[in-house]
């Protein structure tokens, strides 16, 4: 569960079908009144017009909508916006700008870690979270020893990135990009 401390997490019901709630996106606070059926992804893309997060499948199968909620990556299409009262959301628009790229964005450019670009914001958000997860000691399916710090290796990265599909097939280049950032950090 994502919980942010000291925040009342009670959206106001406007009528049986919609609610008013507040969330923070890339550090900016927004109060929205939306149909309860609106996903976090559509709140971002349609209502805040932050279209960097992509909709590839709309039901959690492709990862193109990956955003960070209170620092944890989720598929924004699988989460209703109204559930995020008080949450801090980070999207690709907050990761870096054209004249001030995040190292992960620069590494994706350097290694041609995309082609059509549609999965790319999700890949970048996921990649940044993966490095944090490994550093925080969160194990994955390919982590064999739970009693020692997790080794940051290709298998760990590939496994943890596998929720982000890339049909153009840039996986080998994405791996290089993530490794470039990981090496620079260490």
């Amino acid at each position: 569960m994502n919980s942010s401390n000291n925040v009342e997490r009670h959206p106001k019901t406007v009528n049986p079908n919609s609610s008013t709630f507040s969330l923070s996106v890339n550090g900016e606070r927004h109060t929205l009144t939306l149909d309860n059926r609106t996903t976090l992804l559509d709140a971002l893309r349609e209502h805040l017009q932050l279209t960097g997060s992509k909709k590839g499948c709309d039901h959690g199968q492709c990862g193109a909508c990956t955003v960070l909620v209170n620092g944890v990556r989720i598929n924004a299409c699988l989460s209703l916006a109204v559930m995020h009262e008080g949450d801090d959301i980070a999207t690709i628009e907050g990761v870096g700008e054209a004249d001030h790229l995040d190292p992960m964005q620069q590494a994706f450019v350097d290694h041609d870690a995309f082609q059509c670009g549609y999965c790319t914001p999700g890949q970048i958000c996921s990649a940044k979270a993966v490095l944090e997860e490994i550093q925080a000691g969160l194990p994955s399916h390919v982590t064999y020893d739970l009693n020692t710090p997790i080794e940051l290796n290709d298998a760990e990265i590939r496994e943890r990135m596998s929720g982000n599909l890339c049909r153009c097939g840039a996986y080998a280049n994405i791996l290089k990009a993530i490794n470039q950032v990981a090496e620079a950090r260490s």
Partner: protein, 727 residues
């Protein structure tokens, strides 16, 4: 510009920019999430409504009743259009099934209604309230039945020599049947369009489509309006792979919704609707007969294949490459596209060859084994430099043997596992496989316009960039030709207001569109030379030099804009040549000794595709093809419900494309070749070559690892485990 003969030595042989690695010029837009894809164009027109499609839930028959009253009364709904309210819309030649209109249902998930509302939630909710009753008609959905009925019938496409006599006389023969699965493009961006046809007059379409002009013309046909009333933009395409070559239901439904409501309407196909509503690659059943002399020289190729199509379509021609990939004097190929009632099959990345080489290259491996030959040497022995059906027709530039030799060396082929099932690491059986690849290198007429504005060059063409790198290679082409630097060139794509290009498809886009931009730049050079009264002008370092003139391009027009437009057309001299691209794929796999699970451990492609315009983007094309080939080999297959006539696994969880964890180290080597018969740049396509043969290389590696010869794709573990050697 007419390209009527093979080109001589030219500026591209001394290139500064073409052929050099350059990161994508659109890269920053894509990594920052700022590249605008079709469905998210909030900026282009105000007051957009949202349309949500409804698909038929039978495969064949007619709709007897639709009740949309509850949907019309639902909150936020602006309009509901059901298929019963319209006559069938006219069908463009590029479409097989009707996209909308009328009571007839031609395939599962064919669009039968669109609900337009203020929001997606409202439209989707209302769409679920529409009641539909059908009268079903029995359909044909089983390719096995069709194969049983049709093999050995019909007229072959080609029939050279005496196949039956030569086969009977040969000391070594192979006769096997293979199966490939139906596949979905599964591009990451769903089909999506915003259409503004508010006044019923001018139609503006923001869409995701590979072929701007084809689709504009298809819209004109569909709605029986003048194409001049339609403007279409497709500047960023989130993947296509052939799935976005055509007008599809998203744009049609958005147009209908816009006309009805007098507001712009946007429609994206919901992912679970794409697999059955849109197009796919047909599955195939293929029979290969190959005969050879004891020394390995092939004497017979016979290849027959069946694939499914809706009546009027063309299916998946899996036999075409067999006509001229390898030598052999007796040859017969036949393709049977069968009218069936599954959804619409059409082109997907390397249509024909992807399925055909997946089979032919297993058969070649089987023959090599029967002959006791190294499969690399067997292929080299049977190389041909002419079309074997028509020996007077040479290949323009073919280095397949070099691909094989260079690949064998780089991969360490000599150290491969030699005896199936005999190399083991722990619980894993290790194997190595090779396959050849061949794909044609067509070119299409392609136009462009260039604008010189104070020393900056703007290139406009309706060419699309579907991830292929068009923005980048066209920038490089213009900068090279004009003697400018890349940062002074801006390429604008995907707009029907720009000159018509080849578009992106069939591996013709890069070669054709760069030639078109070259032609436009040459036209501009002539204008500049004329303006400056120079006979022989050179363009270098941002300057024009010739005669008494040595002037910065920024100064040639006194602050005015100079505009030139041209297109490249390719002459019929090409008909006398086979112009193709070639590759060799090498793969190492590990197959789990107890479960039959296959993991690809290493992949290498060596490609011969003429001048490589940009090794970074070209390499990405090839590894992308290799990755799609891994999916085709191991996981991708749309399962047919042969009772109800639809693809059952119609989403990205049920239809499994390769993921990060499936893809190992991938190496690509480009041969340093040029093909003067292709274009002024001596370049050919490579985007489809990358997928050709990959699946067979994996199949052959699985055989080498386990001794299990799988002749049906995808090679899931259930197709391997029963025959695994005793552990």
């Amino acid at each position: 510009m007419d390209f009527n003969q093979s080109t001589e030595d030219n500026l591209f042989d001394r290139a500064r920019i073409i052929g050099k690695p350059h990161t994508r010029v659109d890269g920053i837009l894509k990594v920052t999430g700022r590249a605008p894809y079709a469905y998210e164009r909030h900026d282009v027109v105000a007051s957009q409504l949202v349309g949500y499609p409804v698909g038929a839930t039978i495969a064949r028959g007619k709709i007897t009743h639709m009740d949309a009253s509850a949907a019309r009364a639902a909150p936020g709904v602006a309009a509901v259009i059901t298929t019963l309210e319209l006559e069938p819309l006219a069908r463009a030649d590029s479409n097989v099934a009707h996209l909308f209109g009328g009571a007839s249902v031609e395939h599962y998930h064919q669009a039968i209604a669109v609900v337009v509302a203020d929001t997606l939630e409202q439209a989707r909710g209302a769409a679920s309230l529409i009641e539909v009753r059908y009268e079903e008609t029995p359909g044909e959905f089983d390719l096995e039945d069709a194969w049983a009925r049709l093999q050995s019938t019909g007229e072959p496409i080609a029939n050279v020599g005496d196949v039956d006599a030569a086969f009977a006389a040969a000391p070594v023969t192979l006769d096997e049947t293979y199966r490939t699965a139906s596949q979905s493009h599964a591009m990451m961006e769903p089909h999506a369009s915003i259409v503004d046809w508010s006044d019923g007059g001018q139609m503006t379409v923001w869409t995701s489509n590979q072929m701007v002009e084809w689709t504009r013309q298809a819209l004109a046909t569909t709605f029986a309006i003048d194409a001049d009333r339609i403007r279409l933009e497709s500047p960023y395409v989130g993947g296509g792979f052939g799935g976005k070559l055509w007008l599809r239901a998203d744009a049609v439904l958005a147009a209908l919704g816009s006309r009805e409501t007098g507001r712009p309407v946007k429609v994206a196909l919901p992912r679970p609707m794409i697999f059955n509503n849109a197009t796919h690659r047909s599955g195939t059943i293929q029979r290969l007969r190959i005969a050879a002399e004891a020394d390995g020289r092939i004497t017979v190729f016979e290849h027959a294949a069946v694939s499914h199509t809706l009546p009027g379509g063309s299916g998946e021609d899996a036999v075409n490459q067999t006509r001229c990939f390898y030598a052999g004097e007796n040859r017969r190929v036949a393709h049977h596209p069968i009218d069936m009632n599954l959804p619409e099959s059409a082109d997907m990345r390397a249509p024909g060859e992807a399925s055909g080489l997946a089979v032919l290259e297993i058969a070649m491996d089987e023959m090599a084994e029967k002959l006791g030959m190294d499969p690399v040497e067997f292929r080299i022995l049977n190389d041909t430099q002419v079309n074997p059906e028509e020996p007077s027709k040479p290949f323009s530039d073919r280095h397949f043997v070099e691909c094989l030799r260079k690949g064998a060396e780089a991969f360490g082929w000599a150290e491969r596992n030699l005896k199936p099932g005999c190399k083991r690491e722990g619980q894993w059986l290790i194997g190595h496989g090779v396959a050849g690849a061949y794909r044609g290198a067509p070119t299409m007429t392609s136009g462009a316009r260039v604008r010189l504005q104070n020393g900056r060059l703007i290139v406009e063409t309706d060419m699309t960039d579907i991830g292929t790198g068009s923005y980048t290679i066209l920038t490089q082409t213009a900068a090279e030709t004009m003697g400018m630097e890349i940062q002074n060139v801006e390429v604008r794509l995907g707009n029907s207001a720009y000159p018509t290009s080849s578009g992106s498809g069939g591996q013709f886009g890069a070669a054709s569109s760069t030639a078109g931009v070259y032609a436009a730049c040459v036209a501009l050079q002539k204008q500049i030379a004329k303006r400056l009264h120079v006979d022989e002008a050179r363009f270098e370092n941002g300057r024009v030099v010739g005669g008494q003139i040595d002037m910065a391009l920024a100064d040639v027009a006194d602050g005015e804009e100079m505009v030139a437009e041209d297109s490249i057309s390719f002459g019929d001299f090409k008909d006398k040549l086979e112009i193709g691209t070639f590759a060799a794929h090498f793969v190492e796999v590990a197959v789990h000794a107890y479960t039959g699970e296959t993991r690809v451990r290493r992949m290498l492609a060596v490609c011969d595709a003429g001048r490589i315009l940009n090794p970074i983007t070209a390499r990405s094309q090839v590894i992308g093809g290799m990755t799609m080939g891994v999916g085709a080999a191991l996981t991708e297959g749309m399962s047919v419900d042969t009772e109800r006539g639809f693809f059952v696994n119609h989403d990205l969880a049920g239809y499994e494309v390769a993921v990060h964890a499936d893809i190992p180290e991938q190496e690509v080597i480009f041969l340093d070749t040029t093909d003067a018969a292709s274009t002024p740049l001596k370049a050919k396509g490579i985007g489809e070559l990358g997928i050709c043969g990959v699946a067979a290389a994996i199949a052959n590696a699985i055989y080498n690892a386990t001794g299990v010869r799988v002749r049906e794709y995808p090679m899931t573990l259930d197709r391997i485990i029963a025959q695994l050697p005793a552990a």
